[in-house]
Symmetry: C2
Subunit: 217 residues, 2 copies
C-alpha cells in the first residue's frame, strides 16, 4: 500500500513537471525513486522470509507471491515516472511544443487506474480488478492517437524534433504505466481465484504499426 | 533454459527482420511470442506448486524464486523482440533509412549477453554473472549514440521522421533487452550469494537528457 501511494504521487508529480515545466517537481520525482526501490527490496526480503519460515499454502501463498509481483510492477511504474521527470528537464532547454498538454489526460488516466487498483487490492474486489484492466484499452488508444499527432507535428516543425521525441518517449512511459496497473489487476484476480483472467484483454495500441498517409513511398 | 534459448532466437530473428526487411522473419517472431508467454505461465505454475508442496528453504527457495523472476525477464525480452519485429513491418512501407544497420551491433551485443547469462545460469558462475552485468554499460552507450544520430538524421530528412521514430523505439527495445539480461545476471548473483550485488552498476544511457547543439533555443 505504501509503494502504491508513493507511485501514484510520482506519476502526478512527473506530469506536473512535464506540463508546467516545473524543475523542482522533476527533481523531487527523480530523488524519491530510490524510496520505491528500497521498498521493493524490503517486500522481497519479507517475502522470502515468510516463504522460508511459515511455509504458506493456498490463498496465503498466492498473497505472498502476489505481493512480490505487485512490488515489482510498482517499482517499474516508479522508473517510468522518473523517466518522464528526466525528460521534462531535457525539455526545459527546448522550444515549447503545444502538444505537451496532451500528456496530462493520459497521465491522469493511468494515475487513476493505479489509485483504483490499490483500493481493489485492499478490498479484495474481483469485479473491481477486472474493471481496472478494461481501462487499459482507453490508455492505449489515447497513446496511439498522440503518437500520430506528434509524428505529424514533427514533420511540420523539424526544429521541434528533439522535443517531440522526448514527448513520444514520455507518452510511451505513461502507456507502460497503464500496462503495469493492468498487470497488478491481473495479479489480484490470480490472488482471489487462483488463476489469471481467462479472457484475452482488448488492446488498442497500434502505434508500432503506425504509418501516416504522408509517409507512403 | 528453454525460454532462454527461444528468447535469443527471437532477438536474432527480429534484427534480421529489421535489417534485411525480412517479412517472414518478422511474422515468425510475432507468432512465436505466444510460446514464451506459455512457458512463463508454466514456470509460474510449477513454482507455486513447488512452494506449496515442498516448502523449500535457503538455496532451494532462492532457486525457485529466482526462476520465477528470470521467467518474467525472459517473457519481457520476448515482448521487446516481438515489438522490434512489428516495427520492421511498419518500416516496409517507408523510405529506407541507412542507419537501420546500426541496430545490428546493439542487437548482437544484447543477444550475446543473453546467451552468456543462460550459460552462467546453468554453470552457477558468480564471476560470469557479474561480467554480463558489466556489459550493459556498453549497450547503453551505443543506444545513446544511435539516439543522437537518429535525431540529427530526422532534422536533416523530415520525410524520414516516421521511419526514424520506429527505429528509435526499436533501439530502445534492444536497450531494454540489455537491462533484462542484466536483471537475470543479478538474480543469479542473488541465487548464489543470498543477496544482490552491492556495488551500483555504472549506467551509460543519457538519452533521456539528450539535447543536440542545434536544438538550443
Amino acid at each position: 500500500m505504501q509503494m502504491g501511494t508513493l507511485a501514484v504521487q510520482q506519476i502526478d508529480d512527473s506530469i506536473q513537471a512535464m506540463v508546467r515545466r516545473d524543475v523542482e517537481a522533476a527533481e523531487a520525482v527523480m530523488q524519491r525513486d530510490a524510496e520505491l526501490d528500497a521498498l521493493e527490496r524490503k517486500v522481497e526480503n519479507q517475502t522470502i522470509r515468510l516463504l522460508a519460515l511459515r511455509q504458506p499454502m493456498a490463498r496465503d501463498l498466492r498473497d505472498i507471491v502476489g505481493a512480490l509481483r505487485i512490488a515489482s510492477n510498482l517499482e517499474r511504474i516508479g522508473d517510468f515516472a522518473a523517466n518522464v521527470a528526466k525528460r521534462s528537464l531535457a525539455l526545459q532547454s527546448l522550444p515549447t511544443v503545444e502538444l505537451t498538454g496532451s500528456l496530462a489526460p493520459i497521465g491522469r488516466t493511468v494515475a487513476d487506474m493505479l489509485k483504483s487498483v490499490i483500493q481493489v487490492y485492499e478490498s479484495d474486489d474481483l469485479a473491481g480488478a477486472l474493471a481496472v484492466r478494461d481501462r487499459d484499452e482507453e490508455v492505449d488508444r489515447a497513446y496511439t492517437a498522440l503518437f500520430r499527432e506528434l509524428l505529424t507535428y514533427m514533420m511540420e516543425s523539424p526544429q521541434r524534433i528533439t522535443a517531440c521525441t522526448h514527448l513520444l518517449f514520455a507518452a510511451k512511459n505513461l502507456e507502460r504505466i497503464g500496462d503495469h496497473a493492468t498487470n497488478i489487476a491481473e495479479t489480484i484476480v490470480f490472488r482471489i481465484q487462483g488463476r489469471l483472467p481467462e479472457e484475452e484483454r482488448h488492446k488498442g495500441d497500434d502505434s508500432s504499426f503506425t504509418v501516416l498517409g504522408t509517409d507512403r513511398v
